[in-house]
Amino acid sequence: MVVGVAFTFWLERALTLAVGAAQSLKLSEDVVLTHADRWMYPAGPISALFGVTVAAAVLPFGPRLIGADLGIGAFYFIVVVDFVVLGVALSGWGAGTRNAVESFYRITAQLVSYVIPLGLAYVGALMMAASLSTTQIVEAQRDVWFIVLQPLGFILYLVTGLMQAYRAPFYEPLSEHLGGGFLNFVGGWKALMWRAALAGLLFVISAMGAVLYLGGWLGPWLPPPVWMLLKTFALMTLMLWLGRRFKPLSTAQMLSLSWRILIPAGLLNVLVVGGLILAGVGPQ
Amino acid sequence: MTIPLSAYLIVAALLFGIGIYTVVAQRSAVMVLMGVEVLLNAIGLNLIAFWRYVHPQDYSGQIFTILIVTVGAIEMAVGLAIMMLLYRNRQTQQVDDYQELKG
């Protein structure tokens, strides 16, 4: 996990991405906001980092190399990552500044826009694997990866994963239009935690994408954890690179993208997967 | 099974009492909705506790709770929509000002 976060951070730097104000966090000095809420404001980064760390527990890096092989792993993952949004809410409101509150509003709107298509993107893979457990999802892809069977679901996951990770082109709540949003007002250990949480968020989302669509640890010659990491970072690079190709979207555009394109596409994907399963394609 | 069933039921009872207090005492319509959510949660906790201790083989108890959670979500959505409409008409969200809805 720590290695993953560190490497994610390096990768983002290497690609010199516009991730909003996340790069300009002030680590060396603590920011004193006299009107910040004493309890909620520090609770934000703690909640976010907690969510990301706990979510990493269900990521399988090998047949036995998993924090906790829960029977409902994938669902658990979706739920626990929501704590990042909760952290943003706590931090955004708790900071008590105009930009922070505004970015909290927009991040909530972004949550509303990505959460349904994200669920649909999961559903496709889960239907094929016929299980919620992450290890069994990977095992189900022993013959053929799900990206081959359902490319639409994979694209859906790319888009919603970027939305969930607040990376370009969906970084509007943290963008310079809002002065970096809630991130502009953090410093010291909170900034460090936010950095770790945001980088870790991207890492766990890419890892989950690798598990769902790229066959997780499966692969010839190399040991399983290496394959898993390779796929994770390949997916991360792909996501970040693709994200750079597009113009940043505003919150309203994200919402309309979600409702007009992503949700119908997700439903279509579910239908197609159902048809494939009925036709006997895929893991039996 | 080390924790007795009554412990869970007592928690649910406390939650129910707080919910009733909130529904009766709060002025803002949103707070009333939140009180209703607390009530629903107390009921759900009761259902799950009884499911676990009395009929664990039959998952119908959980189905009931799922339905309750769903109804809670619908209630929240429709309640907020109605509230927003009232707010646009009356410019207030205090339930005292909705007196003429009594009909």
Partner: protein, 362 residues
């Protein structure tokens, strides 16, 4: 086994505390945002109890539904309520419980009132906007209050007059007031700074240090103003949300609870007491310790798609109706005071810095 039992009890007590205290805090705190967060904590506690009762799928479902749902609900509360941060209420009389759960909220003392006006003064002399566009600005992200809904609150007219009268004066005395502020003893106050930097177009000038140097009253007050360029965010909730409500309405009836509160508390306590008493009086239930399948997703799925198919479909239909109903009730332009659909749709086409042109879209 002993260890497992202890761990179970510890978890149970923790989740119980989270649940009950969360619900209590939700009902008694003065800040609406906090009450939302407390309710969320309470739900997470209930979810923990579900998981302890080995209903893991349901517990996670609970968390997922309510984190998203409560955040949206909190947004609604912030949009509708006069005092979401509880800053106005914080100075008033509270019962001990309320005080406990409202700790840390900043009451509006004299100094902050003045700084609220400093805010307005800053806005006013920058571009002649109305003093309450703080409220507008905070909401502009949601594009709901093009009409300045806040104006319609009870006696905002006299307050506008009041605060506008007060502005030149407060503007002139700004330096003194900054000194007089309680907090200023240890931290330089940059209320005015944030306003002016807000108006000083451009990301290039986001280095707030320069802006600080330009703002009046700052150089004299903070010896380290060059260093402390991080402290540009000092605006309290009250001045941000309700700059226009600062004065003169403290005698208004703004309490969050109805006059029937003692009765409500009595009813609630009586209800709980009766239920708990009944439970203690009849402590035995037909408890079975039969083994059961722990693969809850499969079991629930089988039941939902088999035995309870019709109920499931019915609830699905209900949700659909709920969505349609909510959308229908909320469609833009359904009320005479609305601006119509165009304003809502076009308002956020392009990301607009709220610092640059606070009012341009609405």
């Amino acid at each position: 086994m002993m260890l497992g039992e202890t761990a179970q009890w510890v978890a149970f007590i923790l989740f119980t505390l989270l649940t009950v205290l969360g619900a209590l805090g939700m009902s008694t705190t003065m800040s609406m945002f906090r009450s939302g967060i407390f309710l969320m904590a309470s739900f997470i506690g209930v979810a923990g109890l579900f998981i302890l009762l080995s209903a893991d799928l349901l517990g996670l479902l609970q968390i997922m539904m309510y984190i998203g749902g409560m955040l949206v609900m909190i947004l609604f509360m912030l949009l509708f309520s006069m005092d979401p941060g509880g800053a106005m209420m914080a100075g008033m009389d509270m019962s001990p419980v309320e005080r406990l759960f409202s700790r840390g909220l900043k009451p509006q003392d004299k100094g902050e009132e003045h700084s609220g006006q400093d805010d307005m003064a800053g806005e006013e002399d920058s571009d002649g906007e109305k003093p309450h566009d703080h409220a507008a600005m905070q909401h502009s992200g949601m594009k709901i209050d093009g009409e300045h809904d806040h104006h319609a609150m009870h006696n905002s007219d006299d307050q506008e007059g009041l605060s506008e009268q007060a502005q030149p004066q407060s503007h002139g005395e700004m330096a003194d007031m900054d000194m007089g502020d309680e907090d200023a003893a240890h931290k330089p106050h940059d209320y005015a700074a944030i306003n002016h930097s807000g108006m000083n177009h451009g990301a290039a000038e986001q280095q707030m240090g320069e802006n600080h140097a330009m703002t009046h009253g700052d150089a004299g007050n903070s010896p380290t103003s060059g260093e402390k360029d991080c402290e540009h965010g000092q605006m309290d909730h009250s001045s941000m949300d309700h700059g226009d409500m600062d004065m003169g309405n403290m005698d208004m009836d703004m309490s969050m609870v109805t006059p029937a509160r003692p009765w409500a508390a009595a009813i609630g306590i009586a209800f709980s007491a009766v239920l708990v008493g009944l439970l203690l009086w009849r402590p035995t239930w037909p408890v079975t310790s039969a083994a059961f399948s722990t693969d809850s997703p499969r079991e629930i799925g089988m039941l939902l798609m088999g035995k309870y198919m019709m109920a499931f479909e019915g609830v699905g239909l209900l949700i659909l109706l709920g969505i349609f109903g909510a959308v229908f009730l909320q469609r833009p332009g359904s009320h005479p005071s609305d601006q119509g659909r165009e304003a809502y749709v076009t308002a956020d086409k392009n990301p607009v810095s709220i610092e640059l042109e606070p009012e341009d879209e609405s």
